[in-house]
Symmetry: C2
């Protein structure tokens, strides 16, 4: 049997991030400040260093990766591209299935790809401390590790329900030297106000963002960091797709269809954008973002300006949204529980360059177990969404006899999500089909621009 | 900076296991049956397939790895050899530090290296079901996965205290299709007898072995599997050292000293034995087994015939032992809580071909945190023992100015051991220096041969 892993040497770690903003027929829509005017660098400088603001607004095609960042990437990158021979055999499909293993980072997902440069540029700017929020804990872990790599203090506001239910993600952040507090906390005005109203609240991602932003804005030594949605985060993730293109060359193959899970959109964009450049150059490839049916922003949301956070503190961005105050059902793929999507990604979906599908929770776990039982790695609940879609495609090929090449991104492992697998095995998981009324209602909550 | 990872292609996975029994001036001492006579293949055939019994007794130098086993090895092997640049920098040592990352298997440790061939040979022999015991859960996870790979049912007797305290290792085994019961259980006579005496017992590894052996012996379709100690298990692990030798050639370097954690001895032997063959051929290399000071069989135990299990069901083996009824203190490196050592390893220590050192628990966690904060990966508590010894050696080099090449085996990751890290950070961990009286007392419990 041919190789399972297509591996590149460290010298093949990309030297530049790919900026899709350089390659559009029509530019992305402007981000709007609270006054309704296009946001400026000044609007962002209180919480981000200049280098990241430049990347956020850049239309340069290639942005050089600083050497110290590439040095840390070398600890686990390039990540292997796997040919999923055993999964193919189990399914009895004529399709070929490949996956990129982004779970092989220390933090267990693709998130360090952006956490590291964010830490680096902040260090360069003279700041000594990072703040962030975390829900499921993947991003908090990654920024904790990145802070440790570049010598920055890290303060993580962790949604209280996760703080209580996922103590081992918390331990991981402690091991890398970060401070972790349950949000809402009494450390910020936003947190204290929330606690005064509802002392027993279990917190929310929106609340934790408010605390992390307030903390960073109130201290000259601190910056806020975000793990998805923003242009510079998507930019940093493009090393995934760039590596994959080289690996498919080595394999003598090329994907017909690519799946990646989609919440905020950073891992999907990281895989898809370099292939989209290929597509613009004439290659034939279908790009499919896979989202939960309980939080179907791309497939059923409104294409409109909305805030990135629940409290409405961020600038307004043109995206697919379920409304910034939409509270997604309690699915276990915490990383996909986001009301909107990265504006770049949303606008490419709107232009029909990228497709989207939604899948139910229970079938995603079924797919994850099939994957674990064939390929070994136990996937994160987020990744199970891409696996579900890839398996469905492979089964369609079995029906039709097509020998498609299917590629998906294994964005993370599930070692800190076994509680969710337990609930799947014991039959306690639910699907949450979203009633149309909830989506209609969101229209009334969109900000006026 | 030079490469971090030295990676071999899949074609360089060893084609044979290395059998050290072929290369001795003086053969290993015989294993003794209950009657005091050398044990025969017949004594083992109730619970092991013929192929494994042959390997247990073989003096052939190279034993071919079956293709179907090498095919599964390809899912994660060869494992990378890392140059620990960042750890060296943190320590300010002139020494070079390398580690082999055996944590990269699906189960998270080196254990699948033997679980897979054990499952394979059982399948070949026509058996359809495997039994085993597990304490920390590393071995149980590996045999669960191996059973899934080769289409065998798996029954794991998990020490009750672990069953309750490490639910996520249990979930992992379920995901790979294994049945897991708390031991003692009411499924075996041994378990029922124990429960009758003490219904609230938290169980023990010795008890769980008794149940797994009784289960396998009582059913024609079932075999018992063991994760360490036996010759064939050590044999299977020698792919670690063989790969490392090739990787050091690529790096243009060679270790002066090698450290690996040592409980039963399989991961240590897997690294050390191929280098010992090099040493016999004239290379200069020091091999050091690192054990916990709370369970110091190699450094303070008796060199004598003893049973492999608490209940005295196994044949008697010549080993370093603290007495088969010794109950090690409750350290968090569950994989090192074993009263004895693999007889092959013990006899090589006795012949001064291998050294041993013992380290306290708290300094091992301190070392693990330094490693996590520099190299990223959070190590298993067992692996922290090797890291402690490697760091101590590197610090000695800093004092002396020596530019030694230090190599250790990172036998597993700590993703399912974060509770132990929490206890370290909160100051709840203890060291357990063992009083000499406990060791003296063991003399009275050794079997008469």
């Amino acid at each position: 049997m041919s190789d399972y892993k297509i591996i590149l040497p460290e010298s093949e770690i990309p030297t530049h991030w790919y900026n899709i903003a350089a390659d559009l027929d029509e530019p992305f829509a402007a981000v709007l400040a609270p006054n309704g005017q296009p946001a400026t660098a000044d609007d962002l400088s209180a919480i981000f260093p200049d280098a990241l603001i430049e990347q956020e607004m850049s239309t340069e095609r290639w942005i050089e990766i600083p050497d110290p960042v590439r040095e840390v990437y070398k600890l686990w990158r390039p990540t292997p591209l796997f040919r999923a021979h055993r999964l193919e055999q189990r399914l009895g499909t004529p399709a070929k299935i490949y996956y990129k293993n982004e779970s092989s980072s220390a933090a267990g997902s693709h998130k360090p790809n952006s956490a590291l440069p964010q830490a680096y540029y902040n260090k360069q700017s003279g700041r000594t401390r990072l703040t962030t929020e975390t829900g499921a804990g993947q991003w908090g872990s990654s920024i904790a590790w990145a802070g440790q790599m570049f010598g920055l203090e890290v303060m993580v506001y962790m949604v209280k329900v996760s703080y209580d239910q996922k103590p081992f993600r918390r331990s991981m952040m402690h091991t890398w030297g970060a401070e972790v507090v349950a949000s809402p906390s009494d450390l910020t005005a936003a947190g204290r106000a929330q606690l005064a109203i509802n002392p027993d609240t279990s917190g929310s991602l929106g609340m934790a963002i408010s605390e992390a932003v307030e903390d960073a804005a109130s201290r000259a030594d601190s910056s806020y960091t975000l793990g998805s949605v923003l242009n510079h985060v998507l930019l940093h993730q493009t090393i995934i797709g760039q590596e994959a293109i080289k690996q498919f060359e080595l394999a003598g193959d090329y994907p017909d269809v690519i799946f990646a899970p989609c919440g905020g959109g950073s891992n999907f964009a990281g895989v898809a954008f370099p292939f989209l450049a290929d597509k613009a150059a004439g290659k034939s490839v279908e790009l499919v973002a896979v989202e939960p049916s309980s939080c179907p922003s791309l497939t059923r949301g409104h294409f409109a300006y909305d805030f990135g956070d629940t409290a409405g503190l961020t600038p307004m961005m043109l995206m697919y949204t379920l409304g910034h105050d939409f509270v997604p059902p309690g699915i276990h793929a915490g990383g996909l529980r986001y009301h909107g999507t990265a504006p770049q990604l949303a606008q490419l979906v709107e232009r029909d360059l990228i497709k989207a599908v939604a899948v139910d929770q229970i079938p995603t776990f079924e797919a994850g177990v099939i994957f674990a039982q064939t390929e070994g790695i136990i996937p994160a609940p987020e990744s199970n969404h891409a696996i579900r879609a890839a398996i469905d495609e492979a089964l369609r090929c079995k029906e039709s006899g097509e020998e498609k090449t299917i590629f998906f991104n294994l964005s993370g492992h599930g070692h800190f999500d076994m509680f969710s697998y337990d609930r799947y095995f014991s039959g306690e998981l639910e699907d949450y089909p979203l009633p149309q009324s909830a989506i209609d209602e969101a229209l009334e909550h969109l900000p006026k621009t």
